[in-house]
Amino acid sequence: MHELGLAVEIVEIVTRRAAGARIRRVVVEVGVLTAVLPDALSFCFSLASDGTEAAEAALEILRPSARVRCHACGADSEQTSVFACCPCGATDLEWLSGSEFKISAMEVI
């Protein structure tokens, strides 16, 4: 359950940035290869934000697709799972992205 520590960190960062303003929405990006469970992160965020300016904030978790390059046919493709497969059928792939884990934006009021 490493998501609790991560949720606490998210709350610390957004409340510091909000500087007293009420936070309405927090947008987090979790890549295909990032070992973070969105449901667990949402649950932990609601616990971690309790009593802070982010208490009523909605946590929006985006799952951007990852780009891979196929070593067999050379083509690039978009992947949405860690079990990736090139449209040509090969699984020998180089991951060009997918390890994102960031707070991309927040909305304050």
Binding site: M1, L33, V82, F83, F101, K102, I103, S104, A105, I109
Partner: protein, 275 residues
Amino acid sequence: MCASCGCSEIVHSHGDLEHSHAGTLEHSHEHGGAVHTHEPAAARELRLEHDLLESNRLAAAQNRGLFEARGILCLNFVSSPGSGKTTLLERTIRDLGQHLTFAVIQGDQATARDAERVRRAGARAIQLNTGTICHLDAAMVARAVSELDVASGSILAIENVGNLVCPALFDLGEHARVVVASVPEGSDKPVKYPYIFRSADLVLVNKMDLGPYVDFELEAFTGYVRSLNRKATLLPVSATSGQGIDDWYRWLHEHWRQHGVPSAGGPTRTESASR
């Protein structure tokens, strides 16, 4: 909050006036004759682009720099609880301890049992009790390394908390990630825990001596690892019977020769030994 004057709620007082607003009424207050509207404050979007793994990545990079400078080969052992990591380390330390110096960071929720076991085998060891935390991070390793005072030219084995989920996310600054799986866990373990197997540099399949008693297909297991990770070396071993153990020792020696030497600028091993 009112966007214009900063007053807090729909019902409020300005000096000695108390009143309520319904919706967005325009009116004047007796405070300098100002005219303004009480519309709901507009939400502002702030771009952050804050990388949540950055602090761990920086701590891991510092660890890696220290390992390179002091010529320490650092391996991060990850597995489920009970895969035989500690038994494998004990045997390795006993078998190779005459030629190689081992230091061990033991991560467990509780007790110092595993650190005591590897100490008895001949390694310097420190036990980290993580309590409710399910993984080690780079900052914990940095503190342990400084306390343990790992000698130049050593092999530092970090035995992570027994868990195939959480440690996948945290780079500790290791040179290689060693995932230990064991035969009784079943052939399909890699696809059930894809993140950790994807990130492995070496997969040790331990308890091969139990092969005849349990339902385990090495070929199927290898296929599952390959569906996620084409690069990892895969070695079947048994820490108790010694099956395949020499292949593991060869891998270890090869990596130690590569990393277990202080980087240029520091004293070489021969010079240190002659002092």
